[in-house]
């Protein structure tokens, strides 16, 4: 199994969107995919078409002491995912701390290895956005850790302040290609030696929220859209990247 984590540099940059779309794209390219929602917002499932009222998910399973993999669902298009779930967990009052989430993830990763799930399954984890002063949530626990940013001055400044972020690869989402400012910011991020920026950026595309309104990804609702092409390209890049690391190992 290969583990990939996505985390937003701040809230609302499109992390959950990216997880759902990358999962869908990889699935379409014939990979077996498991998406894991580690962010208490519990929104990933909406992209995958789960009804509102269903409350089950990772946390309820852990609370009830049942195995986490029993909380896995399959979307209409065949992507497997584990929602975060809605549950009054004893920890919920204090918020789910970094260490708790990391602890859970470690456990899941270990048990997954023991379960001997399908060998080449790709697991993509949706992490809550980065808090002030924090390191990447799943640093050293995953093969690939993507940091999602928007090409705006805020993200750029924030990225500059936090450099270097060890292990992070930066994914630019919501690029307005017609804005010279954003293109320049993209160029500057790419030119910076401290962070590694993915060669493919995802452009701002209204097809994305519209598809979400249909509880779908753009692959279903707007297959010709720019976003669909961008995410597909990104997925290909990611898969080839993983293959390369495998090679080196």
């Amino acid at each position: 199994m290969k583990w990939i984590a996505l985390q937003g540099l701040k809230g609302g940059v499109g992390t959950t969107t990216a997880v759902a779309h990358l999962g869908e794209a990889c699935h379409r390219q014939g990979r077996s995919v498991l998406l894991l929602d580690l962010s208490p917002g519990n929104l990933l499932r909406i992209y995958l078409g789960m009804p509102w009222e269903v409350r089950r998910g990772l946390v309820p399973a852990l609370t009830a002491g049942t195995p986490w993999y029993q909380a896995a669902y399959r979307s209409a298009s065949g992507v497997q995912f584990i929602p975060f779930g809605v549950e009054s967990h004893p920890l919920a009052e204090q918020g789910y701390s970094r260490s708790v989430l990391r602890q859970w993830f470690r456990q899941i990763r270990q048990e997954a290895a023991e379960l001997q799930l399908q060998e080449d399954t790709l697991c993509i984890v949706d992490c809550p956005a980065l808090g002030p002063g924090e390191d990447l949530l799943l640093q050293d626990l995953v093969e690939l850790h993507l940091l999602v940013v928007n090409p705006d001055p805020g993200c750029f400044a924030s990225l500059r302040q936090r450099e270097p972020l060890p292990g992070a690869q930066v994914l630019i989402n919501r690029l307005h290609a017609e804005s010279p400012l954003e293109c320049d910011l993209q160029d500057m991020m790419m030119a910076s030696p401290a962070v590694q920026v993915l060669p493919v950026a995802v452009q701002q595309d209204s097809h994305v929220p519209e598809s979400l309104a249909w509880k779908q990804t753009v692959f279903q609702a707007a297959p010709a859209s720019q976003a669909a092409q961008d995410f597909a390209l990104l997925a290909s890049w990611m898969l080839s990247q993983l293959r390369e690391t495998e090679h080196v190992a």
């Binding site: 293109c183 701002q204 595309d205 976003a227």
Partner: protein
Amino acid sequence: MSLEALRHWPGPLWWLMGQLFRLPVPWHQQAAMYRWWRKWFPHVDILHPRPLDVIRIPVQVLWLLLVIPPGARKPWPRIGEWLRRLEHVSIGMLVRVFSTENPGPVAKKLHSVMREMVEHPLWDQRWFRWPMLLLGLAGAILVVTVPYELETQLWLLFALLLAALLIRRIPGRLPTLVLMAISLLASTRYLWWRYTTTLNWDDSLDLMLGLILVGVETYAWLVLLLGYIQTAWPLQREPVPLPEDESLWPSVDVYIPTYNEPLHVLKPTVLAARQMDWPADKLNIYILDDGKRDEIRRFAEKVGVHYLDRPDNRHAKAGNLNHALTKTHGEFIAIFDCDHIPTRSFLQTSMGWFFKDRKLALVQTPHHFFSPDPFERNLGTFGQVPNENELFYGLVQDGNDLWNATFFCGSCAVLRRGPLEEVGGIAVETVTEDAHTALKMHRLGYRSAYLSQPQAAGLATESLSAHVGQRIRWARGMTQIFRIDNPMLGKGLNPVQRLCYSNAMLHFLYGIPRLVFLTAPLAFLLLHAYFIHASAVAIVLYVVPHIFHANLTNSRIQGKYRHSFWAEVYETALAWYIARPTTVALIDPGKGSFNVTAKGGLVEKEHFDWTISRPYLVVLLLNLLGVAFGLWRLQAGDPREIPTVIITLLWTLYNLLILGAVLAVAAEARQVRINHRVGLDVPVTLILPGLHRVQTRTVDVSEGGIGVELPEKNLLSPGQRLEITLFHGTRPHVFPVVVANVFGHRAGLRFDHLNVEQEEALIHCTFSRADAWLERDRDRKADNPIESLGEIFATGVRGYGAMLRHIFPLLAEKLPILERMRHFLWQLLPRYPVNNERMYP
């Protein structure tokens, strides 16, 4: 004899009686009889007789009785079927024999054996090498001069043929050299035979014609030999990277000479030149405007490039460049004709060699055209058959490069200022100043280099007459150089350089030889002159290996860049026009200029260029006359002459074939638009209202617009405004467009008032992309002589068709009677019986 028609005679008789005497005949019998009639007399409606049926019926009866074979209902289709099948099989076999794709394991093994032989250390020993070379030479002399008896020649023919057919299956360059040797042996032997045994010294007419032909053949042999030397080993030089330290990079002046070309032609070139990757403070762009136009001056100011004009216009382009040379100070000079758009990588690719080689004075890159030249347009071969240009840039210049003999071609090149000033600037003595300048620099010991990646592209000449005019200029200029600064003479060149330059110049003397080849068989057919004093069998036995091996070898060397026989079409089409200026220039290099009037601009209506094709029409008529004479000679002449007549007729037929293709060139196809569409397949994003982005791919671009594919049919509607994003590397650029038209899954978008930056960005994303022209011949087939001949045949037929189509309306306009007469006669002709059972009155 067709007795079948008569077998049922009582029936028709009955019916005829019925018709004539109004006898009551049962209806079903009437129908049967009518059917019988329509079958054998399909063009005569007996129920509505016409006066001329009086002729039609007896003619048809005769035809049925005498011509149509008995019992054969469908005689022809079956034979045709067989012919087709036969043709299929035999052509398929020929094609396979001539194809070199997929060498087998044996061939590969042979290849390595050959390599080992050549790389054997023994060759390094002097005592071995020289004797072997002498031995080889002796062998060659032996092969060339073995007594000219038919039997010997037959054996030799088979030996050479077998060797060539075997060797050509082996991949690699060595076998090519061996093939060249074989071809030279065959051709030299042929020529030797021609000189020693085939001239009739007893008859002065025969001798004169014979000498002319031998002379012309000697020229062809010389060009073949020099061509082999020139293209034996294309260097295929790779670009050299520039030094890391940009401060070491020299300053470059870019000259864009223009005279009367409109701004919209000049603009993309200037904008693209500005974007070339080079430190901005070391790149100076100069528009050299001999037209002294304010519009251009203003444009130059607006985009921030230099503008130069001069008081006079002496020496045209050469003078223009020389004037600029005195005004600017860059260490290097890049020259682009005003319609050659450079890619951004031009300087990065071409400058590296100047660092590596301090004596290097010139780097030339190919001229690539993204629109068809008139030949390609009228022949419909654009993108399929390589044009003249590609042989020259793909092979000749690259072959020259090995011998340090690549010459300057006037555009898409970089020159070092020092050597250029040393030779006194661009040469002004001849009308091909470019080649002459390079020759002068070579004489001073400077070197030149050729890079075969297209780094610039432009529009080809529009009209046939302009194209012809340009070729005349080249031919004349090269001949002038040959006369006033002959590369075989003078100081400073090495022997092979001399040969390469000489070949470049000799090549342009093809005018008269081509005309001689076109008309030579007529000397025998019409004048009954035996200009080749030999038996028909001998001629065949000597000519066949000569022609066969030359074609086989050339097809292998030039496969990708020239298809067999096409060069003949191109050269023949120009021969008449080139013959005179070259001859005059050869006699007196300073004299006269010849130009067909250039019409320029768009070819608005499909038409036949009678002016340009006139000489060929005359030759065509002569050849047709020759064929008629030949047929007559077959009938009435001396029976011992028949083989000779047949060979000569075959030769004439080949000439007629080439002439047909030449006529096809003269049938000017219509040109639709000013802005040429250039195929382009890159991602593009359509930005629809509300920031909906749709990604798709482009189909083509032109200066004014872009064609895109639509993922959904009704995505766009005509008149709609939107923006599109094109990418330059990863950097997106946005352009406003209006939808001009939508056809199913295609839409044409027109750019909507781009400002200068946007225009620049557009060129960046399209024409000046570094990879823009790299895949130019991606899906073109390699040469196959048989297929090539087939194509020429088809083109020739089209050429004759076009000519007739253009003749007949012409005649019909003046003499409508003629057309009517043709019609009249046509309808009197007898017909084949029709086999249609379901025919009712």
